[in-house]
């Protein structure tokens, strides 16, 4: 089996409390994989460790069999792009300049017309070209999310990491952003790994799901394999019914069981 991204025995802790505890997974190329789990299960931390925003205490991350932890940061940026959770800027730029930042791993001091052309192409593809001159902070949540996605896409990395890409969006924009990502994966442009809270959205769009609890992987595989009432009960402490809608499992939370420790 071809492997695009591989994590081996990743351990990460703040001070002494472990956040990630021997995490292992393989991701084949051109797949969309979701990481799900309760608050504080280590989803975002895992994503950040893969992009070396955080440095894991031990373990290795391989992309195309090359060790990410030994790469120069600029080389990591050429291979892996990251879409952060949305936040406002202290010194915001307009959308074009915000997206142009993503070209940094490919450019010297001057941006060429080529770089700018790529920015416009991606903006056009995401349907936000007309927002080019708008101030980033004055965009709506959905527009900001698309601008951040655009910045990651102009980085031209094969692997795209997303941290809660739909958390602040209404359902129309949730589908919009997920369709864009799904399309890019289908066209074999990227391999995507995203941390996400919405189990149904994850189930609908992912090729595979990774379910985490307290820094460990509890279940991984196709959505129908991962999303079972038993798994949801043991990971979330929630009793849920699992239904199917055109072959895709979706869950309906019914009630809380024992005292689940809220993160």
């Amino acid at each position: 089996m071809m492997i695009k991204l591989q994590a081996k025995d990743i351990v990460f802790s703040y001070n002494s409390s472990p956040i990630l505890n021997n995490v292992n997974f393989d991701i084949p190329p051109s797949k969309l994989v979701s990481i799900v789990g309760p608050n504080g299960s280590g989803k975002s931390t895992l994503i950040k460790c893969i992009d070396r925003i955080l440095a894991p205490q031990s373990g290795s991350i391989l992309i195309d069999r090359k060790e990410v932890t030994k790469m120069k940061r600029m080389d990591v940026a050429r291979n892996i792009a990251y879409v952060p959770q949305n936040s406002l800027r202290i010194f915001p730029n307009n959308v074009v300049d915000t997206v142009l930042m993503g070209r940094r791993p490919h450019l010297g001091w001057l941006s060429s017309d080529d770089d700018e052309e790529k920015v416009w192409e991606v903006l056009r593809m995401l349907g936000i070209e007309d927002l080019g001159m708008s101030n980033f902070n004055e965009l709506s949540g959905g527009q900001q999310q698309k601008a951040l996605l655009a910045r990651a896409l102009v980085q031209e990395a094969d692997v795209l990491l997303l941290d809660e890409p739909t958390s602040n969006l209404d359902i129309w924009h949730q589908l919009d952003v997920m369709n864009i990502i799904r399309n890019l994966v289908n066209k074999k442009v990227i391999t995507a790994l995203m941390a996400v809270h919405d189990l149904n959205l994850a189930s609908r769009y992912s090729d595979r799901m990774i379910m985490m609890k307290k820094g460990k992987i509890v279940a991984a595989g196709e959505p129908s394999y991962v999303l079972t009432p038993e798994n949801i009960k043991s990971v979330y402490n929630v009793e849920a019914a699992v239904r199917r809608q055109s072959e895709t499992p979706y869950i309906i939370p019914l009630k809380q069981v024992a005292m689940g420790r809220k993160g």
Binding site: R73, V76, P84, D97, P105, E117, W120, M125, L131, R151
Partner: protein
């Protein structure tokens, strides 16, 4: 990804409305900087004419051009002496100080991600002030001779920022840590200076106070090469980081994901800009206000792209400083109001006006 983007490329040569707007925006930035630069050159001619000796604007430019094209114009000898040795050096000093403060304020606000940051955030001014107090009261100096005061100001300014940079580097350089440490060190050195003032004689007190106000009168041609050398080395080094500064305003995590090591860039910028500010401060005293507001003014007008913002902050800083100084020199002549005081007196109302006039809630965007 590359093939994907290439395939989608539709190079019809026709630009969309937004693309046109972006091109115009870039043009506007260049036009703005050129205009201010031109205003500085015009203002230089006008400022030279102000003073007890009557000099015309034409004479002013001719005298300056004579130095470049070796005496191709005839200018009155006395006038030329006054222009070249008294009035012009003060303007050059003002331009360099304003430019230095503006540039440093701009890069420091970016790496510390804080609109309140200024060249003095790291305690540079209080360190320099303490160095002056030490020299004035105890006669203790690191470098002796004619550079007693300047040398001390420089060394203690750098000592302060060096301490904070080292602290942040060892403990992990977050911008909040640096600002907090800077404010704390500021208090410490201010207290130490006050202590010296408490025991100082009248003469010593006068020396310390006048230096603290910031004055361009101290600038002479002998000092020009030193400042110029530091500028020629430091400013391009800061400019080289323009892209990384753009990216760092989006946060350290984002910066890292785009390949920019935020902590390294922050330390680099702090070291270089401290050196630049310490050099300017030890020759002119503290003219702090420019470093805080010139970048904000520039950002309001040309936006947040540091490739343009760094030079624009510098040019605007220079412009505001020499304008204020010209007024300070002539408003109640023959008494000259020190540059630092006049800069704040003129600059603050202007800045408040810009804040009130701005449509946005965050005035610095």
């Amino acid at each position: 990804m590359a093939t994907e983007v290439r395939r989608r490329s539709s190079r019809t040569g026709k630009l969309s409305a937004t693309q046109e707007a972006y091109k115009k925006f870039i043009f506007r930035k260049t036009a703005f900087m050129s205009t201010i630069l031109l205003l500085i050159i015009l203002l230089t001619g006008v400022i030279i004419t102000l003073g007890p000796l009557d000099i015309t604007v034409t004479e002013a430019y001719c005298a300056l051009l004579n130095k470049i094209f070796s005496n191709c114009f005839t200018v009155d000898d006395l006038a030329e002496q006054v222009i070249w040795n008294i009035r012009f050096p003060r303007i050059i000093g003002g331009v360099m100080a304003g430019f230095g403060f503006g540039v440093c304020g701009c890069v420091m606000q970016a790496v510390l991600k804080n609109p309140l940051a200024s060249p003095f955030t790291l305690g540079i001014s209080s360190g320099a002030q303490f160095g002056i107090a030490l020299a004035a009261v105890l006669g203790v100096s690191v470098i002796g001779g004619p550079y007693l005061l300047i040398g001390n100001a420089f060394v203690f300014a750098l000592l302060c920022s060096g301490f904070i940079i080292a602290l942040a580097t060892i403990k992990g350089a977050t911008s909040e840590t640096m600002i907090l440490a800077g404010i704390a060190v500021n208090y410490l050195f201010t207290a130490l200076s006050q202590l010296f003032k408490y025991f100082a004689s009248d003469e010593q007190l006068r020396l310390m106070t006048s230096w603290g106000m910031g004055d361009l009168a101290a600038f002479t041609w002998e000092r020009f090469p030193v400042i110029l050398t530091v500028f020629v080395i430091c400013v391009p080094l800061l400019m080289l980081k323009a892209w990384d500064l753009n990216i760092m305003t989006a946060g350290d995590e984002t910066a890292k994901s785009i390949g920019v090591d935020a902590n390294n860039v922050r330390t680099f910028i702090m070291v270089i800009s401290s050196l630049l500010v310490a050099t300017v401060v030890c020759f002119t005293g503290t003219i702090g206000f420019i470093g805080l507001v010139a970048p904000h003014m520039a950002r309001m007008i040309i936006g947040g792209d540091h490739r343009f913002l760094i030079p624009a902050s510098g040019i605007l800083g220079a412009f505001v400083l020499i304008s204020a100084d010209a007024i300070g020199m002539n408003i109640i002549a023959p008494t000259i109001i020190p540059t630092g005081i006049m800069t704040s007196l003129i600059g603050v109302p202007f800045f408040i006006y810009l804040i009130l006039k701005g449509k946005r809630r965050e005035f610095w965007t």
